[in-house]
Symmetry: C2
Subunit: 245 residues, 2 copies
Amino acid sequence: MRIETLFTPSEITESAVKDKPVVVIDVLRACTTIAFAMSRGCERIIPVASVEAAMNLASSLEKKVTLLGGEREGKRIDGFDLGNSPLEYTSDVVKGKAVVLATTNGTRAISMSQGAKEILVASFVNMVSVVDRAAGLGRDTLTVVCAGECGKFSLEDAVCAGMLIERLGESKEVELNDGAHAARSLYRQNQDSIADLLKQCEHGRYLESLGFAKDLDICSRVDSLSILPVVKEGRIVKPKRAKRK
Amino acid sequence: MRIETLFTPSEITESAVKDKPVVVIDVLRACTTIAFAMSRGCERIIPVASVEAAMNLASSLEKKVTLLGGEREGKRIDGFDLGNSPLEYTSDVVKGKAVVLATTNGTRAISMSQGAKEILVASFVNMVSVVDRAAGLGRDTLTVVCAGECGKFSLEDAVCAGMLIERLGESKEVELNDGAHAARSLYRQNQDSIADLLKQCEHGRYLESLGFAKDLDICSRVDSLSILPVVKEGRIVKPKRAKRK
């Protein structure tokens, strides 16, 4: 299996995603938050690239079952129901609901991966489910897109990509592009200190400065959720046969 | 000193380069070739972003002292005097001449760094000179731009950036962004096998397939040239006080 890792959405080309299985990673925090929301009974999440698109879309959906979520600069957007903290997405709040989600990096990376055969939403918390699915993909080239941070490389996403590559390499032969090689190396150097990594990386320190230290802990819990959010026709849903804890 | 490393030119923002010292790295091969050309007596190199720009510019310069150099897909451009192999840039060919140079990644990265306080052209071969200059920069934030490969991360450039960061960290306190952290980690893992790295990375394998195996050897010779090409007003010149071997 060939694995190509892209460290920012700007590395995406049509050939990198078109008709290919794609994994999108945004550890802090969109992809972690999506996994939490789905595991708490959220029906579907509609990722959008802008605040305006979120508000327009939400206004066309049924108010009772639709929530607006998202952040700019890590903070909840004015007028939105929810921010981007996984802790906000409890069963009480999201069960049976649809969430229109606009985040700076993660939902943008998902939007830019449209055209893919399937898009898996990955972070440390649901890594086991992502690896299960990816391992069954056969000979397809797997494209792993790191959301990064405002167009720049982010260490936590690279290390998470490396964890995926390392685990896939345990069960099958993998051929790696330069990005995937680097990601695996970075994972190997950080594999015993994921929680520390999230506290020390740039965006982790920024989130801590905003008061989101608990989120960093939540986001570092490897394999804590057995859930696999997938993007289908622009909507994130939970595959029917996903294992549950 | 704060060091920010960007793995592709698309990570460049105005604030990352404007009035800041910038190091541009393209190990395979533009920055290595530029160092070779300058060390062989080339007067100046004018980096341009496109073949068309190269031809237009060259036609306005004096033919006797102007050469056209560059590549597309690693190969010399039709009608150009030189390709992008450091071995072509001998004293016989380039001494006293100006070269208009169009490469896919390196000269593009230089063009996109315009607005910088100064731009240093770096690769493994002239690392000692780059470190000397960068160490004297005081408290400025240093931006290290990796040229990458066709808009994507390239391992050899990241490791070269990591070497610069590691060496700077030996003489002064350095504060690193995520990219710089990752680059230093990747350097530490590869520091004893630079020549192998160049043979194994994606672009190295591609160049070898084109018959440029010797170039990989040349490009891996750390500190083999004491020369510091700098970009001034769009032209690459050799600083007067650069040490020479």
